[in-house]
């Protein structure tokens, strides 16, 4: 996979919010690549900046938030400098989006067929009949039974899991290169969640679509993603193949996060907890953002910001945990 050119390539992304008290840095120097057919999981707690990164890629950043630095390349072309009108052509055509709540991502008054056909016809040179045939094929592909009749139903006639399948069909409508999936399974029950992640994995493999999977659920990442990027306070603290990051985390934050998930094997007396909370944007500590909560922190961590090296499994940490403890 490393030989092929990445679909999405983000370098040193900097997103700031300008307010009354000056500019706050929400995303601070984030860089990553996603290869064709690869699922990159972006995990972090609330406020880590994972959704914001996804929003910046699809060009839906609301003011006062703005991209203050860095580049976003889609298939080698810069998309962070495009105008709203140019971005609108790319959105849906080259980048699809799946959001958390399937009910609010669909228009309640239009049939799902109308919505999918509209998307197809906006981006592909097909007439209505061809677009409808394609819409039915898409609905079948995402596992909606009796797609020929279901296409004329309204969103409220579908269950939560089925609605999320419709949203996935909509995201796939114009064969995009990249899908941003922001918490796609969070609103669903566990048994439905497993169906949706299995579907995403299959589609990613069959269509060669790259997926950026944003979620707070480490379990979903472990089941679905190929690689994972862990975010903390607007920075990526660790990147690597999912089995290595979950089994042998190198950054103390990732290790703490993994240890605080209750295990299924036995009932422990107490869970390991990370004391404190993620810093607010106006009070990000100097040096490593995690240093006030870290057991391994020393003077160096409090003074200088660690950088993320290049490599398969790397952590932005001055004192990373050993790869094989």
């Amino acid at each position: 996979m490393s030989s092929t050119a990445p679909v999405l390539s983000i370098r040193d992304l900097l997103i700031t919010f300008t307010g009354r008290h000056g500019a706050l840095t929400a995303i601070d120097g984030v860089s990553f690549d996603i290869a064709p057919g690869e699922i990159l999981g972006v995990v972090g707690e609330s406020g880590a900046g994972k959704s914001l990164t996804g929003t910046a890629v699809i060009g839906l950043l609301d003011p006062p938030g703005r991209i203050a630095g860095g580049t976003i390349l889609l298939d080698g072309e810069r998309i962070d400098t495009l105008s709203q009108a140019e971005m609108r052509k790319i959105r849906g055509r080259k980048i699809g989006a799946i959001f958390q709540d399937p009910l609010t991502s669909l228009h309640p008054l239009l049939t799902i067929g109308d919505q999918i056909i509209e998307t197809i016809r906006t981006h592909l040179p097909l007439d209505h009949a061809q677009a409808r045939a394609r819409a039915i094929a898409l609905l079948q592909d995402v596992g909606i039974p009796a797609a020929e009749t279901r296409i004329d139903h309204h969103p409220h006639q579908f269950s939560g899991g089925m609605r999320q399948r419709v949203v996935i069909a909509l995201a796939l409508a114009a064969e995009p290169r990249l899908i941003i999936a922001d918490e796609p399974t969070t609103a669903l029950d566990v048994s439905i969640q497993a169906q949706i992640t299995t579907l995403l994995k299959r589609l990613c493999r069959e269509h060669g679509t790259a997926i950026m999977l944003v979620t707070h659920d480490m379990g979903v990442i472990a089941e679905t993603a190929d690689r994972v990027a862990v975010m903390y306070a607007g920075r990526i603290v660790e990147v690597g193949p999912v089995s290595q990051v979950t089994r042998q985390p190198r950054h103390p934050y990732t290790a703490g996060l993994m240890a605080s998930i209750p295990g299924m094997k036995a009932r422990e007396a107490t869970l390991r907890q990370i004391d404190g909370a993620m810093p607010r944007l106006n009070a990000i500590p100097v040096g490593c953002a995690f240093n006030p909560r870290c057991e391994r922190a020393d003077a160096c961590c409090r003074a200088e910001k660690p950088v993320l090296d290049k490599g398969r499994h790397v952590a932005a940490c001055w004192h990373p945990l050993e790869a094989n403890p």
Binding site: E45, D189, H216, A222, I261
Partner: protein, 323 residues
């Protein structure tokens, strides 16, 4: 583990009338439609233990929680709370309190934290003088890991985890001994979830609290529970000790549920997700409600509803045998 019973639920049901208005029903010749949210549920909760109720959306677990705290009267059956024995030999009714899922919606944004926690104390006249109330509020805040000075602040100044601590302090203010926790950590991040779960375990040890824990997150349930009931479409399909059920699930639904939890211990494992969805509780399938999704279903399952059978651990299944 002691086996003093804190709560006995005996064949409790809760039905909701979801029929169309009378005139529409007469004109369109529609029958009444009854949603059977909880049907003939029986279990006992041991004092000082954690009893968890697990299931997917619409299985009736939250309705059951509301029935236990008295927000929803049971249509049939009864819930009996064993009275607490006081030091002087007299009996006092146990106090039941609830901890809600969303700490952003369950605290009044216009009240100071001190008043939120003091309200049950004042309402139930547990402490007569204001100085005593203030001292008790400070003590409660300290117990849940906040600072007594926080009583002057408003809920918006706190993070999700801190707000859930305030909810816990409010529940403890009544000297409640049974806490019904409806998804207490699902709105929280994992590292904060660990803090709250650890706090709840510590409080249980300190005050001998009984928890009735409602959740769909099985790894949290595994961590917290002593006993467990799995619900599907308003009925309990399997119940028993948590260790037993997690080690050796008997009902096919329990097995599938355990199999579908994403696990961080075995990344990228291939798995067969459970097909289908939970049917509507207004028109449940005949026989065993789980049969349309069950891989083991026999003809008998389609017509005859299985009863909960067994000793200790109970299973409602024709195919899978209890102990």
């Amino acid at each position: 583990m002691n086996s003093v019973i804190a709560l006995t639920v005996d064949r409790a049901s809760c039905h909701f009338d979801v029929s169309a208005p009378w005139l529409t029903r007469v004109l369109q010749r529609q029958p009444r439609r009854i949603l059977k949210a909880v049907q003939e549920v029986s279990f006992t909760v041991r004092r000082g233990a954690t009893f968890s109720i697990v299931g997917e959306s619409g299985c009736g677990k939250s309705t059951l929680a509301r029935m236990i705290v008295g927000l929803q009267p049971p249509t049939e059956g009864r819930l009996d709370f064993a009275p607490l024995a006081l030091a002087d030999g007299s009996k006092a009714a146990p106090r039941v309190q609830m901890i809600f899922q969303d700490p952003y919606a369950s605290l009044n944004p216009r009240w100071r934290v001190g008043d939120i926690i003091a309200e049950p104390i004042r309402e139930l006249k547990l402490i007569a003088d204001e100085a005593g109330v203030a001292a008790r509020v400070s003590e409660l805040l300290f117990t849940v890991g906040l600072s007594p000075a926080d009583s002057l602040r408003y809920p918006h100044a706190f993070s999700g985890g801190q707000r859930q601590r305030i909810s816990i302090a409010r529940a403890l203010a009544t000297q409640a001994d049974i806490l019904v926790c409806d998804e207490p950590t699902s709105a929280l991040d994992v590292s904060v979830q660990a803090q709250i779960l650890n706090l709840m375990r510590r409080l249980q040890d300190e005050f001998g609290l009984t928890y009735i824990f409602i959740s769909h997150n099985l790894s949290v349930v595994r961590h917290m529970s002593d006993d467990l009931a799995i619900m599907y479409l308003g009925r309990i399909v399997e119940t028993g000790s948590a260790d037993q059920i997690f080690a050796d699930p008997r009902h096919p639904y329990t097995r599938l549920l355990l199999d579908t939890i994403p696990s961080v211990e075995t990344p990228n494992r291939a798995r067969q997700p459970m097909s289908g969805e939970v049917p509507s509780p207004i028109t449940p399938p005949p026989g065993c409600a789980f049969h349309p999704r069950c891989t083991l279903a026999l003809d008998r399952c389609r017509v005859e509803r299985p009863e909960l059978r067994g000793r200790g651990r109970l299973v409602a299944c024709h195919v899978s045998q209890p102990d």
